[in-house]
């Protein structure tokens, strides 16, 4: 699993890690049941604090992207997220609010935004989960 983090991005490092994992899952490079590296190993690889990696994993677990199997590591969770659909939509709504605010600042109409969203989703391969 190849991740890249950069400081000074504005985005906290743990969020960068979580987002990149989610992207990998969404684009098919990580399949359900694949193991992601233990916290210590990833911390070494990226040269970041293990607590940051732990926080990222916690975030991913909370959102149901990964699950911890007792004693044997962390794995991408299978299809069927434990989170209820309402919860998932709530998480997405927050992201959508930020996106809409940015679009307004850039003076892009919501309809045009929708068109762009459709384009992008066709570029990324669709997957079953999420």
């Amino acid at each position: 699993m190849q991740l890249h983090v950069s400081t000074g991005d504005g985005l906290p490092i743990y969020l960068q890690i979580a987002n990149q994992v989610k992207y990998l899952v969404a684009s098919g490079r990580l399949a359900p049941g694949d193991e992601i590296p233990p916290i210590r190993v990833l911390a070494h690889q990226l040269l970041v604090n293990p607590n940051t990696v732990a926080r990222a994993y916690l975030e991913l677990e909370r959102e149901g992207v990964v699950q911890k199997r007792h004693g044997s590591g962390t794995y991408i969770s299978d299809a069927g997220s434990p989170l209820a659909r309402k919860e998932r939509l709530k998480i997405l709504s927050e992201r959508i609010d930020a996106l809409l605010a940015e679009a307004r600042h850039l003076q892009v109409e919501p309809l045009e935004l929708l068109r762009v969203i459709k384009e992008r989703s066709q570029t990324i391969q669709p997957k079953e989960n999420k």
Binding site: T7, D9, P12, I13, R40, H44, V48
Partner: protein, 300 residues
Amino acid sequence: MNPSDTLKAVEIAGLSRRFGAKLALNQVSLQAARGRVFGLVGANGAGKTTLIKHLIGRLKAQSGSVRVFGFDPVADPVAVLSRIGYLSENRDLPAWMRVDELLRYTEAFYPGWDRAYAGQLREQFGLDPRAKIKTLSRGENAKAGLLIALAYRPELLLLDEPSSGLDPVVRRDILEAIIRTVADEGRTVFFSSHLLEEVDRVADDLAMIDNGRIVLAGALNEVKENHHRLVLRFDSPQSSAPKVAGILSLTGGGQEWTAICNGKLEEVVAAAARAGGRVVAEGSPSLDEIFVAWAGAKPV
């Protein structure tokens, strides 16, 4: 109670230090918890090295108290120094010693020295055991210093500007060492740096020192979440930075100004509105920008 049962690795309370007329440290108080990485940042001459010298007992506290694992570095030098692995900015290793002699000599003082681990580190750092220290390059010198600080797995790794003047390869080695130290249960790292990119990556807790005073302290995440970068657009071009309450620094010109602020966002937005500006963009500042804002836009 055994002094080493405390949860804190480092406890400094009300420390002040004067050199002649100059007040180098002014009522400094901070705490570093065990098992975490503590980063101390500040401009050159702000007092970082002075603070760290108090921790290893090279300076005696003129007022206030300094405790490392509950011990006083001046009263109990052996108790403190045998728990600390120290890499100084000056890297004053004896120039006449060879690398293997340095390892052999240092080994005698630390019962927890791991020979196998030392050998493994030496090979990983690529140091020739027969080389004299005065022939080592700057990076190799730093690696040698790091080696003798790590080999006995100290409870506290104390680094004073470890990366100053070093190339990226050696800097990676140092960061790896920091991460490896803290990944082992219970071991602590305390380092000072003005390479904020590194502090951003590896620190858990942060303290910023400016002219001998602590201006900022707390968990790194919280510090970054509390600060905001706003781009303000004013109705009329401003000739000099307008005064807005709650803003740390304001840079720019004309109608648009970039502000770094901490604290409640709504209050700042309201204050900006009173001054005739509105927010056109918002984001999270990098640690660099936060640092420069607090230092009053002085160069790092």
